[in-house]
């Protein structure tokens, strides 16, 4: 057994999840593949969205995968960092917007 929770080499084994549940695994990978095809959004745009989300959900495998994917697509480091900031802004905004709830509760409880 690995002595840490994350091993970069495990990313290569992602496909193995179908071994324990073939139907659901295959459905997931079909869906996943379809999502990232060229569509109303380009594959390049979707790669940047995936990179931003990877950071927000703090998935090390996804960060490795979509940094590499971005390089392969010729996406620049400036574009990648802006995407990460877009994710970070939404994440911090999501925290801060709860400040309104805090303010509401504070006001309600205060004389």
């Amino acid at each position: 057994m690995a002595n840490s929770y994350y091993d970069p080499a495990d990313l290569r084994k992602f496909g193995n999840i179908t071994e324990w549940s073939e139907e659901l695994g295959n459905k997931f990978f079909d869906y996943y593949g379809k999502v990232f095809e060229e569509g109303a959004l380009s594959a390049r745009e979707k790669s940047l969205i995936a990179l931003a989300v990877a950071h927000v959900v703090k998935c090390p495998y996804c960060i490795d995968a979509y940094t590499k994917d971005g390089l392969q697509r010729g996406i620049t480091k400036e574009e990648m960092m802006e995407a990460v900031h877009a994710g970070a802004a939404i994440e911090s905004g999501a925290t801060l917007v709860h400040g309104v709830q805090m303010m509401n509760k504070y006001d309600k409880l205060s004389m």
Partner: protein, 362 residues
Amino acid sequence: MAQSILTDIKKAAKKSLKAREDELADTQKQLEILSGDLFAGGDLPFFKDKISESGQFPLKPKKLEVLQINVGYMCNQVCAHCHVDAGPDRQEIMTRETMEQCLEVIRTTGAHTLDLTGGAPEMNPDFRWFVEEASKAGIQDFIVRSNLTIILANKKYHDLPEFFKKHNVHVVSSMPHYTRGKTDKQRGDGVFDKSIKALQMLNKVGYGMPNSDLRLDLVYNPSGAFLPTDQSAMERDFKKALKEDFDIDFHNLFAITNLPISRFLDYLIASDNYEDYMYSLVEAYNPAAVENVMCTNTISVSWDGWLYDCDFNQMLDLKVASKVKHIKDYNDDVLNNRDIIISQHCYGCTAGAGSSCQGTVA
């Protein structure tokens, strides 16, 4: 840590592996690595076993279409990814005598494409004579692979765009990215600005312009341990950026995968990317790309006249497995009966949409 290794590589990369007397300058050493534990230990399949699965072993040549001639390893640049290990310190240059032998073949071959490469082919002192003679043979597509910066390297090269035009040469040039940073990291400081200037000079005489017969294509190699992706999407991005930023036109973009040999292999090992890169190549294996892999329609000739299945095998010193091994004894029929020599570097040409000197193949 990784950054300091990369700085070391960059410093070292001002000289060829050969001049540095690096152990990877020995092609046997490279071949040992390519057949090392990763494959021998069973983690990844040997290329031979992989193509056997689809009944494609042994790999056999089809009709000869491309004659690729390497006129010397001397170059004004020392690119970090160079599979030729080219540079200013390389002295291997094709002589006029060998060029004469090549011309005999060029005049009689059925190949539709003649492809001159190097090094910087223009640095061969007999380059212009050779182009003039070869262009008389009436080959349909006559390519010179120019690194662009050579045009600006010395006054004597400034007229190359006119020279190429006069002989209706098809110019194919390397351009790793449309941004300065990525280009200079791979090819050296200042290369991007010089390349842009050279492209503008080529445009000025008519190269690469829409509807122009003067063909100007660019070659994209990834600047790091990753594979190229969708060639047409990259071409769109390159066209848009080069037009908007520098008013440059070109025809097609060829996306070429870096093969794990020579200086790129050195980089992969030193940056601890070798294993991951080989996994990426094997995972992206595409049997359809094997069908059209360039060694099936190409013969590669070295500066000293030896024959190889491709430019990569030339750099690994894997001469053709045929009774005919030298341009002076060239014989289509005998060569067509050979088996193509393969090793694990061949995964580089069969990954994804495939890779060849003309870009994707599948």
